[in-house]
Symmetry: C2
Subunit: 116 residues, 2 copies
C-alpha cells in the first residue's frame, strides 16, 4: 500500500531526464564530475546523486584520478532496454504502418464481430 521502489533498475535510472542528459554528455568520453556540473547546470550534489543511481545500475563506471573521479558510460547496462523495446520496433516501421491501416479498415468494416 505504498509507492514501489524504482531507482534500482535501469529503466527507472534512465527515466529521469537529467540522468539521460548526463549519460549523453559522458557519451564515449570520460569526464570528471565537475565537467558535468558545468555542462548541466545542476548543483554538484545533484550530479553526484544522479551518478550514484547510474552507478548502482551499472550504467556508468568510475575511475579515480587524483581528487577527481572520471566517469564513463557503460552502455551494456542499457541492453535490457534495447532488447525490450526492440520487440516493438516492427510496429512503427513504415511497412507495418501500412499494414496497420489495412487492419484498421477491416476492423471498422466488421465493427460488430465477436472477436477474442
Amino acid at each position: 500500500m505504498a509507492r514501489a521502489a524504482t531507482t534500482a533498475d535501469v529503466f527507472n535510472a534512465v527515466a529521469e531526464p537529467g540522468r539521460r542528459q548526463i549519460l549523453d554528455l559522458l557519451g564515449p568520453e570520460e569526464r570528471p564530475v565537475n565537467d558535468l556540473v558545468q555542462l548541466t547546470g545542476f548543483t554538484q550534489p545533484q550530479v553526484s546523486k544522479h551518478l550514484r543511481v547510474l552507478r548502482e545500475v551499472g550504467a556508468v563506471a568510475v575511475r579515480e584520478d587524483g581528487r577527481r573521479r572520471l566517469y564513463r558510460v557503460n552502455g551494456r547496462a542499457l541492453k535490457p532496454i534495447h532488447d525490450w523495446v526492440q520487440t516493438y520496433e516492427q510496429t512503427w516501421s513504415d511497412r507495418f504502418d501500412a499494414l496497420d491501416e489495412v487492419v484498421a479498415e477491416l476492423d471498422s468494416k466488421e465493427a460488430g464481430d465477436d472477436r477474442e
Copy 2:
C-alpha cells in the same frame, strides 16, 4: 524543491514494470481491460490507471466495443526510447568491448593529460 513530474513521458511510462507487463500482454493483439486484470492479477482500477498513463503517452490506443474497451499497443510511441538507447548499442557489442579495453589501457598510461 520537490519531486519532478514523470508520468508525462514515455520513458517513465515504461519504467514501471507493471506497465511493461501490460504492453507485453497486449503485444500485437487487442485485449479488453478485463483480460489484463485476469492475466496480471492487478486490481481493475490499477490496470485502468496504468492504461491511462500508457494512453497519455500514446503507447496504447483504445477502441470501444460495447461496454468493453479494446486496447492495443502503439509501438511507435516507443521509438524515442529505441532511438536514444541505440546510440549506446555499440558500447556493448563485443567488437567495441575489445576496443574499450585498448582505450582504457591508453588512458591509464597517460593518466596526467589535460583532457577537456
